[in-house]
Symmetry: C2
Subunit: 276 residues, 2 copies
């Protein structure tokens, strides 16, 4: 596996690329097709020629039997100078695996509201692009204020996401998450929750969401592919209601069931299942 890239790689020099983060259990990447579909669509959107078979091969080579976080990065490669190269170069594909632990599941999140807004009108607002510095700085704000993550608003003051997750609010049986035009990523677990929820008797809606609506919700949670569903317990130091813990627990269980079906392991005890 490639452990280095050229200092001329446009991923390094210009953040000119996109990436994906996924959970792998038992040597199986969960929701693999959805992850790689999204990655390839993003590459196409920014004009990077990346062949799907080459990405699939790189992912296969990185898969481990142990629980892992697979990170797949695709960049525009090592091109000539100039922001928009006149000729497309070969893209760079890098897949790395880091250990994943079930301890990442079930941790509640205290959020603060990040100072700076996310630009929902950016052409990269819906892409998992490499340029994460704004979110790194929002994560610093969260750490400095004793929180676990930062809620990021868009330029209209409505919720976009957190630094690493999509955001949901549940109110009177209606589950709301911001639509992509609000500046969030098309999260894989976000899509799964929207798909699973109706079977649990919930109405789902992609609609603009204001911070005040989190405070008035029956429950709020954040989703991503490493932690799945994470309850939001406080926002800027104020406790959020937890009136719908049972509903959130049922959503969590439904997600876990999908992982177990697909990967053959309960994510809460993947090592045991693997050993059996």
């Amino acid at each position: 596996m490639t452990r280095t890239v050229s200092v001329e790689d446009r991923g390094f020099t210009l953040g000119d690329g996109i990436f994906d983060t996924a959970l792998a259990l038992n040597g199986v990447m969960f929701a693999r097709r959805a992850h790689l579909d999204r990655l390839c669509a993003a590459a196409e959107a920014i004009g990077i020629r990346a062949e799907r078979p080459a990405i699939e091969t790189a992912v296969d080579a990185a898969l481990l039997p142990t629980p892992s976080i697979l990170r797949t990065t695709v960049t525009r490669g090592t091109g000539a100078r100039g922001l928009w190269p006149s000729q497309a170069a070969e893209s760079t594909i890098v897949v790395t695996a880091a250990p994943w632990s079930p301890a990442l599941l079930g941790q509640p999140a205290r959020l603060i509201t990040a100072t700076a807004p996310r630009n929902e009108r950016s052409p990269t607002a819906n892409l998992k692009a490499l340029g994460y510095l704004d979110h790194v700085l929002a994560a610093r704000e969260a750490a400095e204020r004793g929180a676990d993550d930062a809620l990021i608003l868009n330029t209209g003051g409505r919720i976009a996401c957190t630094t690493i997750a999509n955001v949901f609010a549940l109110k009177d049986g209606r589950l709301v998450t911001p639509p992509l035009r609000e500046g969030c990523l098309p999260g894989i677990v976000r899509a799964l929750v929207l798909k699973i929820a109706p079977a649990l008797g919930l109405e789902v809606d992609e609609a603009p969401l204001r911070p005040a609506e989190l405070r008035e919700a029956d429950a709020a949670f954040a989703t991503n592919s490493v932690r799945f569903l994470r309850r939001v317990t406080t926002l800027d130091g104020i406790a959020l209601p937890e009136r719908a813990d049972d509903v959130v627990a049922r959503l969590e269980a439904a997600l876990r069931a999908r992982v177990e079906t697909e990967c053959g392991a309960d994510p809460r005890a993947p090592a045991r299942t693997t050993a059996s």
Copy 2:
């Protein structure tokens, strides 16, 4: 000189770093102190511990006798997972040199207006951060529309910059460029122009600038450290006035004089001067 970086380097994985681009002639980086002051201030702003002496040493090692574009990149290094690492790791410093040619001087620029705005409220709006994908995509728009560069507006519809340059408008002896709060970088040549212009009888002003003001100006130009001063001849296909060509020429000459004094070479013929 390091030619590769780890695939775990946060500059590659998250665009978690900043950079600088400068011209070097005769083995001398032009405006070196200003460039490295800005780079170190940016590193400090985002919490990267980078020692100035280490950066100076890396720059010295990359300097060539031939005209070069020196690019200095500083990243948060190869850290643990997580957006905001709990412990600061050693930063990565990379300096590369690419050939520079006097042919880059004096080329006029046809601009188009980029579709998407720049987020002037981002904590990185005034930093030369690695995440340049939005500007890469604006440069693509320019290329697709037969232009040389793209004018980038902020979320208020006022001028921030181009994909690679600061923007100036000259009208009735008054030279205007957007203030930093409009979302532009504190360009080194921008600062020089603001410093030089009064001695040429111009009033200088950092003030919000609308695209319409470019159309009504006596002259408009863009500045950066590789091309210095570049006249803007058209905006979205419409010719801009060129009533103040003499003033622009005097600004260009004053900038060249500063380069020659500092580097001992006329940038228009650096090789000849070097050989003499």
